[in-house]
Symmetry: C2
Subunit: 258 residues, 2 copies
């Protein structure tokens, strides 16, 4: 175990840099902040490359220290510096980031969520977490969405990245792939002329596409889907947050968990 | 029209104070920040007691200035001071706060949402907004929940307070009132032994109770309901945010908008 007390230490600088997409891509790693996430990773069999904790916290959870490649005891000041949390719990870990551009393992199967230019990291993370709860097999984030392994997305996912498959990619290609195996792809549209979401019966393998917070899905993607769905609601079309809409649709379309 | 340039002006101090519950209760008013909210109020026939704007914004929306009791032209510094927004739009209005402890007008009817000690203002506001979209008639906030007319709740409600009835009160009394007219009250519980939410058929008049973010509903309220509902999900019980759960349940229980 190494003890670090200065925020100018090179390790500390490297951890801090993991808040940027560039450093995450260069190193192929990202930071988990807090016990819940570190434990979820450990439960999922993810190797803790580096475990970083305050003295108190490392003692309190000595079971995890034996499982980590390197253990660093740091000050609370360093903890605050490397996380973007106001009151960090005093524990963090560096783990390998899955290659979001890999090919899916095996044939496409189950329920999938596609995100088209969703910008808010909290929305992206909450939708991944909800997809997990709804029993979805995977989430694909299209270009110009919030980065899947940024600190705010990771915090909102609450460990769901360890329970389902996450990808980044060209949604046009993903939609074409689903349609080529006869699986329906459902877009979403703030348009009462679209299909009432309660009237579709998607079967076991399908994809649902959610769009940008302000503008919705792109016209190009809307024209590629099997059907576009609408949630009938009172009042104007801005009445539902995108993460709430996604939750309503995912639990309606995937009822295999009952 | 009065021009104000100092944050030490008494009006400015009074507006700033409306961020506190005490000042809102003493004056019976609250602040709407931004054009969308001011316009929603105006559309709903709510009197704009005081309209506060920067010079540019007052010119751009001169239609509203004629409808306000008093109009104040202020600096951007004052706008920032009285709102808790990082980049305020430059317009705000003081309006009368409905008496949340009044008696409901007419017999209890339609779908209602009860909030038991929901603490996060964003969650409370989002749930009111979602209840509005789902065609609910009203929302009742129990004791020790976030205050309905605090700045963050008001921002998250996005004007839904003008479309449905809002109350504060003792949820034990509200539950008893619904049951006394034969209307079911559905609690929510993170417990697979509770009733699957897809199996209930609530009829036109009912109430749904959502609980605290960490602890859920109180045992006392759970024991008073007609039934307690559960959303079947994968993995552990913490997998759904309370506002997402509320959205899924409200759109399942109230399908009268199709």
């Amino acid at each position: 175990m190494e003890q670090l007390t200065s925020i100018h230490n090179q390790h500390v600088k490297d951890w801090k840099k993991l808040q940027t997409k560039k450093a995450r891509q260069q190193t192929g790693t990202y930071l988990l902040d807090g016990w819940h996430l570190v434990q979820e990773a450990s439960k999922a069999g993810i190797e803790l490359l580096e475990l970083i904790g305050t003295a108190d916290q490392l003692v309190a959870h000595s079971d995890l220290t034996t499982m980590a490649g390197h253990v660093y005891e740091v000050t609370e000041e360093i903890m605050k510096h490397i996380t973007d949390t106001v009151t960090p719990q005093g524990i963090a870990a560096v783990v390998t980031m899955p290659d979001a551009h890999r090919m899916p393992a095996g044939p496409l199967k189950g329920a999938w969520l596609f995100l088209d230019r969703v910008q808010d990291p909290g929305n992206v993370g909450t939708m991944v977490r909800t997809a997990d709860a709804a029993g979805f097999a995977g989430v694909v984030v299209g270009h110009r969405s919030a980065d899947l392994f940024g600190p705010k997305v990771v915090r909102s996912m609450q460990g769901s990245q360890f329970h389902l498959q996450l990808f980044e990619g060209d949604l046009r290609k993903w939609i074409a792939d689903f349609k080529s195996i006869g699986a329906p792809v459902f877009g979403t549209q703030l348009n009462p002329q679209a299909k009432n979401f309660r009237t579709v019966n998607p079967g076991d393998t399908f994809a649902l596409v959610m769009g940008n917070e302000g503008q919705g899905m792109s016209n190009e993607l809307l024209s590629m889907t099997t059907d576009n769905l609408y949630i009938p609601m009172r009042g104007d079309a801005e009445s539902l947050n995108v993460a709430i809409s996604a939750g309503i649709l995912m639990f309606q379309l995937n009822q295999n968990l009952d």
